[in-house]
Protein backbone atom coordinates (compact mmCIF):
# COMPACT_ATOMS: atom_id res chain seq x y z
CA UNK A 1 0.00 0.00 0.00
CA UNK A 2 1.29 3.46 -0.92
CA UNK A 3 1.37 6.19 1.72
CA UNK A 4 -0.88 8.38 -0.41
CA UNK A 5 -3.51 5.64 -0.55
CA UNK A 6 -3.17 4.83 3.12
CA UNK A 7 -3.70 8.45 4.17
CA UNK A 8 -6.83 8.77 2.08
CA UNK A 9 -8.21 5.58 3.63
CA UNK A 10 -7.74 6.69 7.25
CA UNK A 11 -10.99 8.64 7.48
CA UNK A 12 -13.23 5.90 6.02
CA UNK A 13 -11.40 3.48 8.31
CA UNK A 14 -12.21 5.52 11.42
CA UNK A 15 -15.79 5.88 10.20
CA UNK A 16 -16.18 2.11 9.83
CA UNK A 17 -16.68 2.31 6.07
CA UNK A 18 -13.90 -0.04 4.92
CA UNK A 19 -14.35 -3.74 4.25
CA UNK A 20 -12.51 -6.16 6.52
CA UNK A 21 -9.73 -6.98 4.06
CA UNK A 22 -8.86 -3.35 3.35
CA UNK A 23 -9.02 -2.53 7.07
CA UNK A 24 -6.51 -5.26 7.82
CA UNK A 25 -4.21 -4.14 5.05
CA UNK A 26 -4.38 -0.55 6.30
CA UNK A 27 -3.74 -1.58 9.92
CA UNK A 28 -0.63 -3.46 8.83
CA UNK A 29 0.58 -0.48 6.83
CA UNK A 30 -0.04 2.00 9.63
CA UNK A 31 2.14 0.03 12.06
CA UNK A 32 5.17 0.86 9.94
CA UNK A 33 4.41 4.50 9.07
CA UNK A 34 4.73 7.19 11.76
CA UNK A 35 2.95 9.88 9.74
CA UNK A 36 -0.06 7.68 9.06
CA UNK A 37 -0.06 6.62 12.70
CA UNK A 38 -0.13 10.24 13.90
CA UNK A 39 -2.93 11.10 11.47
CA UNK A 40 -4.94 8.13 12.63
CA UNK A 41 -4.47 9.08 16.28
CA UNK A 42 -5.65 12.61 15.53
CA UNK A 43 -8.72 11.45 13.68
CA UNK A 44 -9.60 9.06 16.48
CA UNK A 45 -9.16 11.55 19.28
CA UNK A 46 -11.20 14.13 17.40
CA UNK A 47 -13.99 11.64 16.84
CA UNK A 48 -14.09 10.49 20.44
CA UNK A 49 -13.97 14.08 21.73
CA UNK A 50 -16.99 14.93 19.59
CA UNK A 51 -18.92 11.91 20.77
CA UNK A 52 -18.06 12.51 24.39
CA UNK A 53 -18.49 16.26 24.66
CA UNK A 54 -20.67 17.60 21.83
CA UNK A 55 -24.12 18.58 23.07
CA UNK A 56 -26.92 16.22 22.10
CA UNK A 57 -30.14 18.20 22.00
CA UNK A 58 -33.06 15.99 22.99
CA UNK A 59 -36.51 17.00 21.74
CA UNK A 60 -38.36 18.84 24.52
CA UNK A 61 -41.18 16.79 25.99
CA UNK A 62 -43.61 19.57 25.09
CA UNK A 63 -42.67 19.33 21.41
CA UNK A 64 -43.12 15.57 21.49
CA UNK A 65 -46.48 15.75 23.21
CA UNK A 66 -47.48 18.69 21.03
CA UNK A 67 -46.94 16.66 17.90
CA UNK A 68 -48.72 13.69 19.48
CA UNK A 69 -51.66 15.23 21.21
CA UNK A 70 -52.13 18.60 19.60
CA UNK A 71 -52.18 20.36 22.95
CA UNK A 72 -51.53 23.72 21.40
CA UNK A 73 -50.89 25.43 24.70
CA UNK A 74 -48.00 23.12 25.44
CA UNK A 75 -46.79 22.86 21.87
CA UNK A 76 -46.91 26.48 20.80
CA UNK A 77 -43.63 28.32 20.81
CA UNK A 78 -43.69 31.29 23.20
CA UNK A 79 -44.45 33.94 20.56
CA UNK A 80 -43.57 35.34 17.18
CA UNK A 81 -44.03 32.15 15.26
CA UNK A 82 -46.55 31.96 12.47
CA UNK A 83 -46.00 28.28 11.82
CA UNK A 84 -48.38 26.31 13.95
CA UNK A 85 -49.25 22.75 13.13
CA UNK A 86 -52.99 22.62 12.40
CA UNK A 87 -54.94 21.32 15.35
CA UNK A 88 -57.08 18.95 13.28
CA UNK A 89 -53.96 17.20 12.06
CA UNK A 90 -52.63 16.86 15.56
CA UNK A 91 -55.91 15.44 16.80
CA UNK A 92 -55.93 12.80 14.10
CA UNK A 93 -52.36 11.84 14.90
CA UNK A 94 -52.93 11.80 18.62
CA UNK A 95 -55.90 9.49 18.75
CA UNK A 96 -53.97 6.98 20.78
CA UNK A 97 -50.60 5.40 20.99
CA UNK A 98 -52.05 2.33 22.65
CA UNK A 99 -54.55 1.91 19.84
CA UNK A 100 -51.70 2.08 17.36
CA UNK A 101 -49.75 -0.58 19.15
CA UNK A 102 -52.83 -2.79 19.36
CA UNK A 103 -53.66 -2.29 15.68
CA UNK A 104 -50.19 -3.21 14.55
CA UNK A 105 -50.12 -6.30 16.74
CA UNK A 106 -53.49 -7.33 15.33
CA UNK A 107 -52.20 -6.84 11.77
CA UNK A 108 -49.19 -9.03 12.42
CA UNK A 109 -51.37 -11.69 14.03
CA UNK A 110 -53.50 -11.96 10.90
CA UNK A 111 -50.47 -12.83 8.83
CA UNK A 112 -49.76 -15.86 10.95
CA UNK A 113 -46.46 -14.92 12.58
CA UNK A 114 -44.31 -17.19 14.68
CA UNK A 115 -44.16 -16.76 18.45
CA UNK A 116 -40.74 -15.19 18.08
CA UNK A 117 -42.01 -12.66 15.52
CA UNK A 118 -44.78 -11.70 17.90
CA UNK A 119 -42.42 -11.32 20.83
CA UNK A 120 -40.03 -9.19 18.79
CA UNK A 121 -42.89 -7.07 17.55
CA UNK A 122 -44.01 -6.50 21.13
CA UNK A 123 -40.47 -5.54 22.09
CA UNK A 124 -40.09 -3.01 19.26
CA UNK A 125 -43.54 -1.67 20.13
CA UNK A 126 -42.69 -1.43 23.85
CA UNK A 127 -39.48 0.45 23.10
CA UNK A 128 -41.19 2.76 20.60
CA UNK A 129 -44.03 3.46 23.05
CA UNK A 130 -41.64 4.27 25.84
CA UNK A 131 -39.54 6.52 23.59
CA UNK A 132 -42.55 8.34 22.16
CA UNK A 133 -44.22 8.95 25.49
CA UNK A 134 -40.99 9.84 27.29
CA UNK A 135 -41.79 7.13 29.80
CA UNK A 136 -38.60 5.13 29.53
CA UNK A 137 -38.05 5.01 33.25
CA UNK A 138 -40.35 4.49 36.24
CA UNK A 139 -37.61 4.18 38.82
CA UNK A 140 -34.73 6.49 37.96
CA UNK A 141 -31.52 5.53 39.67
CA UNK A 142 -27.95 4.73 38.78
CA UNK A 143 -27.78 2.50 41.86
CA UNK A 144 -28.30 -1.20 41.15
CA UNK A 145 -29.38 -1.69 44.77
CA UNK A 146 -32.33 0.64 44.20
CA UNK A 147 -33.39 -0.61 40.78
CA UNK A 148 -33.23 -4.35 41.46
CA UNK A 149 -35.49 -4.44 44.56
CA UNK A 150 -37.95 -2.07 42.85
CA UNK A 151 -38.27 -4.50 39.94
CA UNK A 152 -38.31 -7.64 42.08
CA UNK A 153 -41.11 -6.25 44.23
CA UNK A 154 -43.32 -5.88 41.16
CA UNK A 155 -42.49 -9.12 39.37
CA UNK A 156 -42.52 -12.81 40.21
CA UNK A 157 -38.77 -12.98 39.63
CA UNK A 158 -35.61 -11.04 40.32
CA UNK A 159 -33.76 -9.83 37.23
CA UNK A 160 -29.99 -9.26 37.29
CA UNK A 161 -29.09 -5.55 37.40
CA UNK A 162 -25.30 -5.37 37.04
CA UNK A 163 -23.42 -2.09 37.46
CA UNK A 164 -21.60 -1.63 34.14
CA UNK A 165 -20.69 2.03 34.54
CA UNK A 166 -17.00 1.09 34.52
CA UNK A 167 -17.53 -0.38 31.06
CA UNK A 168 -19.24 2.63 29.53
CA UNK A 169 -22.86 1.68 30.16
CA UNK A 170 -24.48 3.87 32.82
CA UNK A 171 -27.48 2.49 34.64
CA UNK A 172 -30.36 4.93 34.16
CA UNK A 173 -33.21 3.08 35.88
CA UNK A 174 -35.97 0.57 35.23
CA UNK A 175 -39.62 0.04 34.42
CA UNK A 176 -42.16 -2.74 33.98
CA UNK A 177 -43.55 -3.47 30.52
CA UNK A 178 -45.70 -6.16 28.93
CA UNK A 179 -44.47 -8.54 26.22
CA UNK A 180 -46.62 -11.37 24.93
CA UNK A 181 -49.13 -10.71 27.70
CA UNK A 182 -46.46 -11.23 30.35
CA UNK A 183 -44.86 -8.68 32.65
CA UNK A 184 -41.18 -8.15 31.97
CA UNK A 185 -38.45 -6.22 33.73
CA UNK A 186 -36.92 -3.42 31.70
CA UNK A 187 -33.51 -2.22 32.84
CA UNK A 188 -32.49 0.99 31.12
CA UNK A 189 -28.84 1.74 30.39
CA UNK A 190 -27.39 4.83 28.78
CA UNK A 191 -24.39 5.05 26.46
CA UNK A 192 -23.58 8.55 25.24
CA UNK A 193 -26.99 9.88 24.18
CA UNK A 194 -28.41 6.44 23.44
CA UNK A 195 -30.93 4.78 25.72
CA UNK A 196 -30.86 1.00 25.79
CA UNK A 197 -33.78 -1.09 27.00
CA UNK A 198 -32.80 -4.48 28.42
CA UNK A 199 -35.96 -6.58 28.71
CA UNK A 200 -35.69 -9.60 31.01
CA UNK A 201 -38.10 -12.42 31.83
CA UNK A 202 -37.78 -16.05 32.92
CA UNK A 203 -36.47 -17.99 29.93
CA UNK A 204 -38.20 -20.11 27.40
CA UNK A 205 -35.92 -21.92 25.00
CA UNK A 206 -35.03 -19.47 22.27
CA UNK A 207 -32.13 -19.19 19.89
CA UNK A 208 -29.84 -16.15 20.17
CA UNK A 209 -30.35 -13.57 17.45
CA UNK A 210 -29.51 -10.05 16.41
CA UNK A 211 -31.46 -7.96 13.94
CA UNK A 212 -32.41 -4.41 13.13
CA UNK A 213 -35.53 -2.60 12.05
CA UNK A 214 -36.11 1.06 11.22
CA UNK A 215 -32.80 2.10 12.72
CA UNK A 216 -33.24 0.13 15.93
CA UNK A 217 -31.09 -2.85 16.79
CA UNK A 218 -32.25 -5.89 18.71
CA UNK A 219 -30.04 -8.44 20.41
CA UNK A 220 -31.45 -11.52 22.10
CA UNK A 221 -29.99 -14.34 24.21
CA UNK A 222 -30.84 -16.55 27.17
CA UNK A 223 -28.60 -17.00 30.18
CA UNK A 224 -29.04 -18.69 33.56
CA UNK A 225 -32.76 -19.26 33.11
CA UNK A 226 -33.46 -15.71 31.96
CA UNK A 227 -34.27 -14.38 28.47
CA UNK A 228 -32.70 -11.04 27.56
CA UNK A 229 -33.65 -8.67 24.76
CA UNK A 230 -31.53 -5.56 24.18
CA UNK A 231 -33.09 -2.87 22.02
CA UNK A 232 -31.72 0.55 21.16
CA UNK A 233 -30.79 2.93 18.38
CA UNK A 234 -27.21 2.32 19.50
CA UNK A 235 -25.14 0.64 16.77
CA UNK A 236 -25.20 -3.16 16.61
CA UNK A 237 -21.53 -3.56 17.59
CA UNK A 238 -21.80 -1.69 20.87
CA UNK A 239 -25.14 -3.32 21.61
CA UNK A 240 -23.31 -6.64 21.17
CA UNK A 241 -20.69 -5.42 23.66
CA UNK A 242 -23.42 -4.86 26.24
CA UNK A 243 -24.85 -8.32 25.55
CA UNK A 244 -21.43 -9.88 26.22
CA UNK A 245 -21.03 -7.87 29.44
CA UNK A 246 -24.45 -9.03 30.63
CA UNK A 247 -23.61 -12.66 29.84
CA UNK A 248 -20.31 -12.32 31.68
CA UNK A 249 -21.87 -10.71 34.73
CA UNK A 250 -24.65 -13.31 34.89
CA UNK A 251 -21.98 -15.99 35.26
CA UNK A 252 -21.82 -19.40 33.57
Amino acid sequence: MKQEDALSLLQPYVDGELDAATSLELERYVMGDAIARAQLARLRSLSSALRAAADYHVAPASLRSGILSGTRGAAAPPKGSTRHVPAHWLRSVGIGVAAAAFASIATVALLGPTQQDLTEHDIFAAHARATVSDRLIDVASSDQHTVKPWLSARLGFSPPVPDLSGRGFELAGGRIDVVGGQRVAVIVYRRRQHMIDVLVRPAREETPSAKSRDGFNLNHFTQNGMSFWLISDLNANELGDLARLLVASAGP
Binding site: E17, Y56, A100, Q193
Partner: protein, 182 residues
Protein backbone atom coordinates in the same frame (compact mmCIF):
# COMPACT_ATOMS: atom_id res chain seq x y z
CA UNK B 1 -57.04 5.86 13.48
CA UNK B 2 -55.90 5.66 9.88
CA UNK B 3 -53.10 3.52 8.48
CA UNK B 4 -51.08 6.71 7.91
CA UNK B 5 -51.45 7.81 11.53
CA UNK B 6 -50.23 4.45 12.70
CA UNK B 7 -47.27 4.44 10.32
CA UNK B 8 -46.33 7.97 11.36
CA UNK B 9 -46.32 7.03 15.03
CA UNK B 10 -44.44 3.77 14.55
CA UNK B 11 -41.87 4.97 12.04
CA UNK B 12 -41.29 8.66 12.58
CA UNK B 13 -41.82 9.59 16.21
CA UNK B 14 -39.08 7.32 17.60
CA UNK B 15 -36.59 9.48 15.66
CA UNK B 16 -37.81 12.80 17.02
CA UNK B 17 -34.70 13.29 19.16
CA UNK B 18 -32.45 12.84 16.14
CA UNK B 19 -34.61 15.28 14.20
CA UNK B 20 -34.47 17.87 16.96
CA UNK B 21 -30.75 17.47 17.53
CA UNK B 22 -30.01 18.10 13.84
CA UNK B 23 -32.37 21.09 13.70
CA UNK B 24 -30.95 22.53 16.91
CA UNK B 25 -27.40 22.31 15.59
CA UNK B 26 -28.35 23.82 12.22
CA UNK B 27 -30.57 26.66 13.44
CA UNK B 28 -28.49 27.33 16.54
CA UNK B 29 -31.38 27.93 18.94
CA UNK B 30 -34.26 26.09 20.60
CA UNK B 31 -37.10 28.28 19.44
CA UNK B 32 -36.39 27.95 15.73
CA UNK B 33 -35.37 24.29 16.02
CA UNK B 34 -38.79 23.57 17.49
CA UNK B 35 -40.58 25.46 14.70
CA UNK B 36 -38.58 23.75 11.98
CA UNK B 37 -39.13 20.27 13.45
CA UNK B 38 -42.86 20.82 13.80
CA UNK B 39 -43.03 21.97 10.23
CA UNK B 40 -40.94 19.01 9.07
CA UNK B 41 -43.07 16.52 11.01
CA UNK B 42 -46.16 17.84 9.27
CA UNK B 43 -44.46 17.29 5.93
CA UNK B 44 -43.36 13.83 7.00
CA UNK B 45 -46.92 13.02 8.00
CA UNK B 46 -48.29 14.16 4.65
CA UNK B 47 -45.75 12.16 2.66
CA UNK B 48 -45.60 9.08 4.88
CA UNK B 49 -46.76 7.06 1.85
CA UNK B 50 -43.33 7.57 0.25
CA UNK B 51 -41.62 5.77 3.08
CA UNK B 52 -42.13 2.28 1.59
CA UNK B 53 -39.48 0.01 3.02
CA UNK B 54 -36.93 2.81 3.29
CA UNK B 55 -35.34 3.33 6.68
CA UNK B 56 -37.33 5.96 8.55
CA UNK B 57 -34.41 7.66 10.26
CA UNK B 58 -32.53 9.02 7.21
CA UNK B 59 -35.85 9.70 5.49
CA UNK B 60 -37.06 11.91 8.35
CA UNK B 61 -33.64 13.54 8.76
CA UNK B 62 -33.64 14.46 5.05
CA UNK B 63 -36.97 16.26 5.49
CA UNK B 64 -35.72 18.03 8.61
CA UNK B 65 -32.44 18.93 6.95
CA UNK B 66 -34.19 20.49 3.95
CA UNK B 67 -36.50 22.43 6.26
CA UNK B 68 -33.43 23.69 8.14
CA UNK B 69 -31.69 24.84 4.98
CA UNK B 70 -34.84 26.64 3.80
CA UNK B 71 -34.91 28.33 7.17
CA UNK B 72 -31.20 29.21 6.94
CA UNK B 73 -31.60 30.65 3.43
CA UNK B 74 -34.46 32.83 4.67
CA UNK B 75 -33.00 33.85 8.03
CA UNK B 76 -29.23 33.37 7.93
CA UNK B 77 -28.36 33.72 4.24
CA UNK B 78 -24.69 34.33 4.99
CA UNK B 79 -24.35 30.92 6.61
CA UNK B 80 -25.27 29.01 3.47
CA UNK B 81 -24.08 31.40 0.77
CA UNK B 82 -20.45 31.25 -0.19
CA UNK B 83 -19.36 28.89 2.52
CA UNK B 84 -19.53 25.94 0.15
CA UNK B 85 -17.54 27.46 -2.67
CA UNK B 86 -14.26 27.08 -0.85
CA UNK B 87 -14.93 23.47 -0.08
CA UNK B 88 -16.12 22.26 -3.38
CA UNK B 89 -13.29 24.12 -5.09
CA UNK B 90 -10.85 22.44 -2.77
CA UNK B 91 -12.39 19.24 -4.12
CA UNK B 92 -11.20 15.96 -2.72
CA UNK B 93 -9.00 17.30 0.00
CA UNK B 94 -8.28 14.03 1.69
CA UNK B 95 -4.52 14.45 1.49
CA UNK B 96 -4.14 18.18 1.06
CA UNK B 97 -3.05 18.69 4.64
CA UNK B 98 -0.63 16.32 6.25
CA UNK B 99 0.86 19.04 8.41
CA UNK B 100 2.64 17.48 11.36
CA UNK B 101 0.87 18.98 14.37
CA UNK B 102 0.90 17.32 17.78
CA UNK B 103 0.82 13.53 17.90
CA UNK B 104 -2.63 13.69 19.42
CA UNK B 105 -4.58 16.78 20.20
CA UNK B 106 -4.92 17.25 23.91
CA UNK B 107 -8.67 16.97 23.47
CA UNK B 108 -9.29 15.48 26.87
CA UNK B 109 -8.31 18.81 28.36
CA UNK B 110 -10.51 20.77 26.04
CA UNK B 111 -13.39 22.56 27.66
CA UNK B 112 -16.83 21.32 26.66
CA UNK B 113 -17.93 24.80 25.81
CA UNK B 114 -14.91 25.42 23.60
CA UNK B 115 -15.67 22.26 21.67
CA UNK B 116 -19.36 23.07 21.23
CA UNK B 117 -18.61 26.65 20.22
CA UNK B 118 -16.11 25.41 17.66
CA UNK B 119 -18.69 23.06 16.11
CA UNK B 120 -21.29 25.82 16.09
CA UNK B 121 -18.84 28.11 14.31
CA UNK B 122 -18.35 25.68 11.40
CA UNK B 123 -20.16 26.52 8.15
CA UNK B 124 -23.48 24.65 8.02
CA UNK B 125 -22.50 22.11 5.32
CA UNK B 126 -19.58 20.86 7.46
CA UNK B 127 -21.52 21.06 10.69
CA UNK B 128 -24.35 18.92 9.35
CA UNK B 129 -22.14 16.07 8.09
CA UNK B 130 -20.22 15.98 11.37
CA UNK B 131 -23.42 15.89 13.44
CA UNK B 132 -24.90 13.17 11.23
CA UNK B 133 -21.72 11.11 11.37
CA UNK B 134 -20.55 11.52 14.98
CA UNK B 135 -23.80 12.07 16.88
CA UNK B 136 -26.30 10.17 14.76
CA UNK B 137 -23.79 7.55 13.57
CA UNK B 138 -25.14 7.52 10.05
CA UNK B 139 -23.17 5.77 7.29
CA UNK B 140 -21.75 7.75 4.36
CA UNK B 141 -24.53 6.31 2.24
CA UNK B 142 -27.24 7.57 4.60
CA UNK B 143 -25.56 10.97 5.01
CA UNK B 144 -25.52 11.26 1.22
CA UNK B 145 -29.25 10.52 1.15
CA UNK B 146 -29.99 13.04 3.90
CA UNK B 147 -27.94 15.86 2.40
CA UNK B 148 -28.60 15.08 -1.27
CA UNK B 149 -24.85 15.19 -1.96
CA UNK B 150 -22.81 12.38 -3.56
CA UNK B 151 -20.82 10.13 -1.21
CA UNK B 152 -17.56 11.65 -2.48
CA UNK B 153 -18.74 15.11 -1.47
CA UNK B 154 -19.84 13.80 1.93
CA UNK B 155 -16.34 12.42 2.46
CA UNK B 156 -14.59 15.64 1.47
CA UNK B 157 -16.92 17.74 3.65
CA UNK B 158 -16.30 15.44 6.61
CA UNK B 159 -12.57 15.64 6.02
CA UNK B 160 -12.59 19.42 5.68
CA UNK B 161 -14.92 19.86 8.66
CA UNK B 162 -12.66 17.77 10.83
CA UNK B 163 -9.60 19.65 9.73
CA UNK B 164 -11.27 23.00 10.46
CA UNK B 165 -12.25 21.78 13.93
CA UNK B 166 -8.78 20.46 14.66
CA UNK B 167 -7.28 23.76 13.53
CA UNK B 168 -9.57 25.78 15.77
CA UNK B 169 -8.60 23.61 18.74
CA UNK B 170 -4.92 24.00 18.03
CA UNK B 171 -5.41 27.74 18.02
CA UNK B 172 -7.18 27.52 21.35
CA UNK B 173 -4.58 25.16 22.75
CA UNK B 174 -1.65 27.30 21.68
CA UNK B 175 -3.35 30.33 23.25
CA UNK B 176 -3.61 28.40 26.46
CA UNK B 177 0.02 27.29 26.23
CA UNK B 178 1.44 30.72 25.48
CA UNK B 179 -0.81 32.22 28.14
CA UNK B 180 0.59 29.72 30.61
CA UNK B 181 4.17 30.55 29.83
CA UNK B 182 3.79 34.25 30.27
Amino acid sequence: MSENDRRFQDAVLPHLDAAYNLARWLTGNDHDARDVVQDACLRAYRSIGQLRGASARPWLLAIVRNACFSWLRANRPTEVAGSLDDTERAGSTAREDTSPGPETLALENLDRKVLNDAIAALPAPYREVLILRELEELSYHDIANVTGAPVGTVMSRLSRGRRLLAQSFQVVLSHVESGGRR
